[in-house]
């Protein structure tokens, strides 16, 4: 449970409220998780940049009382790369939806993973395109319905964790809005991790995914998330098949991009020494 008595007011840009999120949407829970991790890390908000893409999740930067960029669909990581390279002192949190990050932004996503640049990709996965009215996403499970797959999706979905692992991200975790007490911890660990971090968070969309697939209201959808996932921290890839494990799947230290850039190109070091 979130500790009572934590006042997250100062982390919120209150004067821009209300949010566009529907009643019962899980994204507010994720926002809370992000703000709580800011509090745990005692971050200087002047040195934090939250970058969002387009879609329901893309609005998150409005509500964090940080430097905020609401960018274009799928490109948030590319914007973040320019910010981080120019000023590595800044803590950059990149918030994206599922369609945003691995649909239209798939190319930027895998390359940010590969580069291991110290960005923190927080992926709000509600399995559907919410803002545009409930169309099939690259994460929509096979057989689940949407406004563009009325008979159920005939495609296989991306598993964002597997994709991030394969592409080379060095911190990879997944949780759900049901397991909201884990969120601040995972986001905190992601921010602390010196490399590219991916935290996928399953989020309920009662308005579209839930309604179209008859999964009930927000609380029933939380139960759906609970049933769908198993705590499976660091379980083997073979065991992952057919299950959606949650937890931390990779946490390893590898050369980080901006650090490597500094080391290799620093004027004080002789590049041709060897």
């Amino acid at each position: 449970m979130p500790k009572t008595g934590i006042n997250l007011e100062k982390y919120l840009r209150r004067d821009i409220m209300p949010s566009p999120w529907c009643p019962g949407c899980g994204h507010g829970n994720i926002l809370r998780g992000i703000l709580e991790s800011f509090d745990r890390l005692k971050l200087d908000l002047d040195k934090v940049v939250v970058v969002g893409g387009i879609g329901c999740s893309g609005r998150t930067p409005y509500f964090t009382n940080t430097n905020s960029m609401h960018t274009t669909h799928g490109r948030a990581l590319a914007f973040s790369t320019g910010v981080k390279m120019t000023n590595p002192e800044l803590t950059v949190l990149t918030v994206m939806g599922d369609g945003d990050s691995v649909g239209i932004g798939g190319n930027h996503f895998i390359h940010a993973c590969r580069r291991n640049i110290d960005l923190n990709a927080i992926i709000f996965n509600n399995s559907i395109y919410g803002m545009t009215g409930g169309q099939t996403a690259p994460t929509t499970p096979t057989g689940k319905k949407s406004t563009t797959s009325f008979a159920g999706s005939i495609e296989a979905p991306f598993d964002i964790v597997e994709l991030a692992l394969a592409a080379g991200a060095t911190f990879v975790a997944r949780t759900t809005t049901f397991d909201f007490q884990d969120m601040p911890d995972l986001i905190t660990r992601a921010i602390e991790h010196p490399g590219f971090s991916v935290v996928e968070i399953l989020s309920q969309c009662p308005t579209y995914f839930g309604r179209i697939n008859k999964l009930g209201d927000a609380t029933e959808m939380l139960d759906y998330e609970k049933d769908l996932t198993i705590p499976g921290e660091l379980i083997s890839r073979e065991e992952m098949i057919g299950e959606m494990p949650i937890g931390v799947f990779r946490e390893e230290i590898k050369p980080e991009f901006t650090d490597q850039y500094r080391k290799v190109y620093s004027k004080t070091e002789d590049v041709n020494a060897s």
């Binding site: 905020s68 609401h70 490109r75 910010v83 981080k84 120019t86 000023n87």
Partner: protein
Amino acid sequence: MKPDIMRLIQGNEACALGALRAGCTFFAGYPITPASEIMETMARELPKKDGKFIQMEDEIGSLAAVIGASWAGAKAMTATSGPGFSLMQEHVGYASMTETPCVIVNSQRGGPSTGLPTLPSQGDVMQARWGTHGDHPVIVLTASSVQTTYEMTIEAFNMSEKFRVPVILLLDAVISHMRENITFPEIEIADRKKPVSTDNFTPFSDETFLAFGKGPRKLVTGLGHDERGYPKTTDGTIAEERLKKSFERIDQHLDTILRYKSYFLGDAEWLIISYGITSRAAKAAVDKLQGVGIATGLVDLQTLWPLPEKLIRDLSERVEGILVPEMNLGQMIMPIRMVVEGRATVQALNRADGRLFQPDQIINAVQKMQQKNGQSISKPTNIFR
């Protein structure tokens, strides 16, 4: 680089050197012929100046990274050619909407699509102005030599930083790859204007700018927004007002933005309006025409957008005819005809076969126009061709 030193360098190299002279500290790009040497030079030179270079996964990401870098405080640029420029259009709009200083170089090659790699073209002049969706302020510059490539790259940064607007510099495959002797004249370098006080600073009130991490926290969005950056999408009048202000910022500084070179305009009865590499053949043509007593002048446009409308209008009052040679099927002739409004004959001369104009072709076209005009002054029936 000492101003009096003369060096034999390539157009793309001159572009990179101009960018470095202007204070560029960030470059993101993706390989494409004929622009790649700009990226290669920046990859080599930027780290020496504590600058940052990154080769991105595509051109969409390249301009996104440039905009991110600009908001983190860097003077930032990218360089590409037609196909990459098409991919960048999404973020030309974002840069425009968010009043982000950045420079985009497009070394034009024959299009559409993969087109004619890598023959020169001037086919992207309309795209440079109108490529992204929506009304948007943008400045478009051109260069006609390796020397002016160096100079106009510096001017591109200066204008972008001063007016907080994306500036597009159009080169072409020939300018990019040819080598000429150039000098490095002293050009004043402009930086973004800082607010007098950071208290109550709002990021979209005027051309003053503070990077992330400096002054109050900022909110930047591609949505229609107010001077704080707060989205205002239900009442469109606020977004319209911001947009108009961005345009006004350009209109109010036309004296510094509009650049052109004029040649024999004094007694000209015939006028050639050209830009980029075509101006070189046009200049040679003017010399020959003057030699045979045909009073012909030249305006070499270095700023394409905004178009120097007053200059063209004034000249159209006193010349018989205007020839617009372009390495495309007729693009800049459209706004030129609109400005001239029938006060003089406006004649197109086009080629899109990836070859440069020869001076003789331009001479012939002027002479034909002269003969035709002697019979009857015919107004163009279709301004689009």
